[in-house]
Every structure is written in C-alpha cells, then in structure tokens.
C-alpha cells in the first residue's frame, strides 16, 4: 500500500493583513500516502493552519488569494474544482478536525442531528439510516452510551468527548484525507494521548491519510511517520520522524528540537529557546527567512532563497532547505 492520497504542488496563499499583503504560504509542495500520518510542524503563525484551510478551500476570495499548480486528491485536482465541487469533497473525501472542540460544534443543534446532517448530505441517507450509522460511528469512536450522546448538546459534553465526536464526524464518510489542526492542544494530557491513539487506529483501519498540524514535536514523535517543518510559510525540512529527530539538517529544526525538554541519561537537559522573534508575514526578510535568527547565517542566506534538496548523509527521503545544513549526526558517532 503506497498509493498517494494527496499531492500538493506549489501551493501559495496571499492574505490581506493590517500591514498589507502577506504571502503566508509560499509555494509549498508535499505529498501524502494512504494510511500515512504526516506531521506539519511549526511555531504559531508560520502558516500551518492557513495551509490546511487552503487545502480545504475554506479561504474566501474576499480574504485572500490561493494559488497552486495542482492539489491532487486521488485523481481529482482540487485546484481546478468549483466551489460547488469542493463542497462535495469537504467532509466527504477530505475532512478536517479543528483545534477547539468547544466552539467547533453548533451549540443549538444536538450531536445527533449534526452528525446525521453530514451523512445525509454526502451519502444521501435518509433520517433513520443516518441516525443508525451515526450511532455506529460514535461507538466505533469508542463512546459507550452513544444513545445519550446523540441527544445531548455540545455544551453538555466534555472537551475530549466533543473532540471524539468531531473526529467521528470527520471519519463518517471514510475520507481519503483527514486534516487535523492541533486536534489535541486544547485538551488535557491524558485525553490528548487517547485522541492521538485514535488517529493511529483510524489510519490503520480505513487507510485514511492524516495531515496532523501541530506545534508540538512531542506529538509528532508519538504518532507521525513523517514530518514537514514549516517556517514563515515555507517548508524548511521534510523527513521521516526518526531521521528528523536523530539528525536534523536545518538549524531551525535543530532549534525546535532543542526547545523540547527531554530527559536522558545526562538528566534533565536545559531548554534552549530560539533567539529572536518570528518576523511578521507582511515584511519578511529576503533570502532565507530564518537568517535573522540563525547563528550560521551569512550574506548568501540574506540574499538567496535556499531551494529544498536532499540532505546529504541522510536517507533519500530526508529533504532540507538551508545553504549551510547541519552535518549528519550519523557521521559523528
């Protein structure tokens, strides 16, 4: 099983911000295999969520411009699809789970009606069928008294519950691709863990490809197969999780990793935060956007945009975009 579920070529998003036009996503490309969980990692404001919205076609033309060579979902090119066409895709072949389950559900409709609404929309089921299959879904999502949940309203459920409901909703129509935007960050640790496990299972069971958007490398390590590191709208590194953690090639990635507290034989390591701040998307520096915060940056970095390329000394699927990539860790030991 190595079919490509989603492949994106040169996706760019330009938004109208208070400080003028800003290119918040800058011609990114990546692909997503069936059953794979791909992490999209970066600090807040780096364009992760916008990417997700753009993929779903949720960015209104009044708000910004979305450009791309192609967004292939299976054999459909979403880039060419009309709004009506997209509507048939959304929540059907490609669906999304949001960060804050508290506000993501309509407070005045019962869980049941919201679930079955989706089913009736996409599968053309009638009320009864939709109701039955919703119940199944909730149970599959591991919720015991699904009957009660069906009748209850969002405000009556816990955060974790709501998130599970949302996931159930997202999986309702067995989508090829599921985009999860910080699905667990608003939940307490234990719930977080359970939610993430659920993703794993889903991936296995339906071969759904999952794009997991997060700022938390811990989460990535926990569930993802591969990860994309995003900085200021660009992908600066793409690699299988192992290789990424063992030997990051981009200084930014290294910085992120260094900022994650971890415990090893040497005891608790001191956290080193990346110096400086993320520049505002409306006035990005030329060349490598990270140059301003990078120790090893030179004039080349400040003028020339580094292309993405194989990171030498690492396995072929490890790509990076830096003029002065870090040496592969494997060489050292």
């Amino acid at each position: 099983m190595n079919k490509t579920a989603l492949s994106v070529r040169n996706l760019s998003v330009t938004l109208q911000t208070g400080m003028g036009l800003a290119r918040v996503v800058d011609s990114i490309s990546f692909s997503l295999q069936e059953g794979e969980i791909l992490g999209l990692v970066g600090e807040s404001g780096c364009g992760k969520s916008i990417t997700a919205a753009a993929l779903m076609g949720l960015i209104p033309s009044s708000a910004g411009i979305v450009k791309s060579d192609q967004i292939m979902l299976g054999d459909k090119n979403l880039a060419r699809l009309s709004e009506a066409g997209m509507r048939r895709i959304r929540g059907n072949e490609m669906s999304m789970v949001f960060q804050d389950p508290l506000t993501a559900l309509d407070p005045v409709f019962s869980i049941g009606s919201q679930l079955s609404m989706v089913l009736r929309r996409h599968r053309g089921e009638n009320r009864r069928q939709a109701r039955r299959s919703s119940i199944e879904m909730l149970e599959r999502a591991g919720m015991a008294d699904s009957q009660r949940i069906m009748q209850s309203y969002p405000h009556q459920l816990s955060g974790g519950m709501r998130q599970r409901v949302l996931i159930a909703m997202a999986m309702a129509s067995r989508p090829r691709v599921l985009i999860a935007d910080e699905p667990s960050s608003s939940l307490d640790v234990s719930t977080q863990a359970r939610i993430l496990e659920q993703f794993g299972e889903l991936g296995q069971r339906f071969g759904t490809a999952i794009l997991l958007i997060t700022h938390d490398l811990g989460v990535v390590a926990q569930v993802c197969d591969r990860a994309l590191i995003m900085y200021c709208g660009r992908i600066v590194e793409e690699a299988p999780v192992k290789s990424l953690y063992s030997s990051p090639a981009h200084p930014y990635t290294a910085g992120l990793l260094a900022a994650v507290p971890r415990i090893n034989s040497a005891g608790v390591q001191r956290v080193r935060a990346i110096p400086g701040l993320v520049p505002h998307p409306a006035d990005l520096p030329d060349g490598c956007h990270f140059a301003g915060r990078c120790a090893s940056a030179d004039t080349q970095c400040r003028t020339l945009v580094p292309g993405i390329q194989a990171a030498d000394g690492r396995n072929s699927t490890h790509l990076q975009a830096c003029h002065h990539p870090l040496p592969s860790a494997s060489h050292e030991d």
């Binding site: 949720l58 009044s62 509507r87 048939r88 959304r90 993501a104 309509d106 407070p107 019962s110």
Partner: protein, 312 residues
Amino acid sequence: MRSIVQQLIHGLLLILGVTLISFLLMVWFGPDQTYTLIGKNATAAQIAEVRHQLGYDQPFVRRYVDYLTGLATLDLGASNSSGEQVTSILKRTLPISLALMLPGFIIGNLLGMALGLLAAFRRGTWSDRLITGLSVTGMSISFLIIIIALQVLLSTPYGLNLFPVRGWQVDSISSYLTYVTVPTLSLILVTLGYNTRFYRAIFVEESSREHIVTARAFGASPATLMWRHVLKNSLVPITTRFMFSIPLVVISGSLLIETYFGIPGIGKVSFDAITSGDQPVLKAVVGLTAVLFVLIQFVADFIYRAVDPRIA
C-alpha cells in the same frame, strides 16, 4: 419551577417600580386638571369642590394604593375630561394603534432582517457597504423630518397628493390602506436604519463563529449555513429585540405618529391625557404597559428555552 416563582417576584417588583415612578411623575407632580374643569368666574369653594372630586386632596399613599388596587381589579375608573370609562377608551383606541403600528413594525423588522442578512452574507462587498451606509444615513434622519417630508411628498398638492393629510376615517380595507400608508412608511423609514444595522451585527457575529467554519469544512452550502446555523443561533437576540420593542412601539411610536396625523389611538389619547392631566387614563396606560412588559418577559423567556438548549 423555582425560576418561575423568581420571575413572578421579579415581575411584581418591576410593576411596582414602574407604577410608583410614573405615579410620582404623572399623578403626584403631574398637571393639575382642576383648572381645566372649573368654569368661568369660579369661586375658591368650587375649586376645592373639583379638587375633592378628583381626589387631589387625598394623601399620597392613599392615592397610590387606590391606584394599585384599581389596577389589580382592572377597575380603571373613568376619564376626568370626557367621563368615558377608561376601559372603553382602551377598547376603542388600542385596536386602532395596533392596526396603525403593526404593519410598519413588522415590515420594518422583516426588511431590516433581510437587508441585514444580505449585508452580513456579502460581508465586505460593495452591497454590504451600500446597505450599512444607507442604514447610517437613515439613523441620522429625525423622525419628525421623515414624517413632515413624507406628508408633503405624498399627501399635499406640493407632492403627489395621493393620501389624506391626516385623520382616521377607516370603514373598509381600502380606506384603511389610504390612511395607514403614510404613517406606516414613516415608521418603516425611521426604524429601518436601526433594524438593518442591528440584524447585520447579529448575523455577522453569528456567521463568524468557529462552528460555521466547521460546518463549511463538512460541506455545508452557504444557504444551509445562513438559514440553518446562523439564523437559528441568532434567534435569541432577535426575539429579544422583537418582543421588547412591541410595547414601546405601540405607545411611544404611536404617540408621535398619532399626535401628528391626528389618529385617535392609544398614543394620542395618552398624550392628550398628559397635557390635560387626565390621570385615570394615564395611570391605566402606564400600568398596563408595565404589566405587558412583564408578560412579554415571560413569553420571551419561554422562547429562549425553546430555541437555545444552553439556557436551561
């Protein structure tokens, strides 16, 4: 159950307050009708006589309590100036006011909702700007200006001269329409600006909620978003506005329109009552408005529970 009891108490307190304040203003400090009732060359004795009949010589508490009991037993007494029973006055005038105000009130709100919805839906586009711009303009025109202008334009030789200048000689649908048109138009024009703006704000607020994005992400069509999600979520503020402006529109609004167009509705009657100091009428109008308010609060509360599960 407890909440209903609380509401009852709250309602009673409200009625008590309204009646007390208005009694103070309109009755205790209000205009003294004695001198409109005495004839030429009245003697001090006759004046005292009239004051006594009007009950002006009673102590405050006594008069206030009488008022409340009268209100409670719906025994509203008779008008001082015409001698007509207040209840029959109300029976006569209230229907007129309703017939006069309701069309404008309802159309005004529906139109406002429609425009607000359109503007919210086309947020940021030229049509939105146009609508909001017009509503601000509308809000900046005084009621009186609108009335005068419309009257000149529609009911005088200087304009189209289509409708009667004033009055209310209604005995058929057609005559009703001729008399109600200009007032209704003025009422709509006056309220439309505020309504549109209000409803737009609400719809914008609701349509910018997270769950709307979710719904979109699950393939909901714009129509579904607006009619299903936005509208249902907006029901609470809408009902509130709608319900609570009823008494004010029927009394305050009709007061101006009816005095200007000389229409014998509750508004004109209560204003005449103020100017002439016809206290039985005043007391009845104010008292009943307060009661109406409380009732409306009950109804509104009921509706809230129906539309929003979060309000338990």
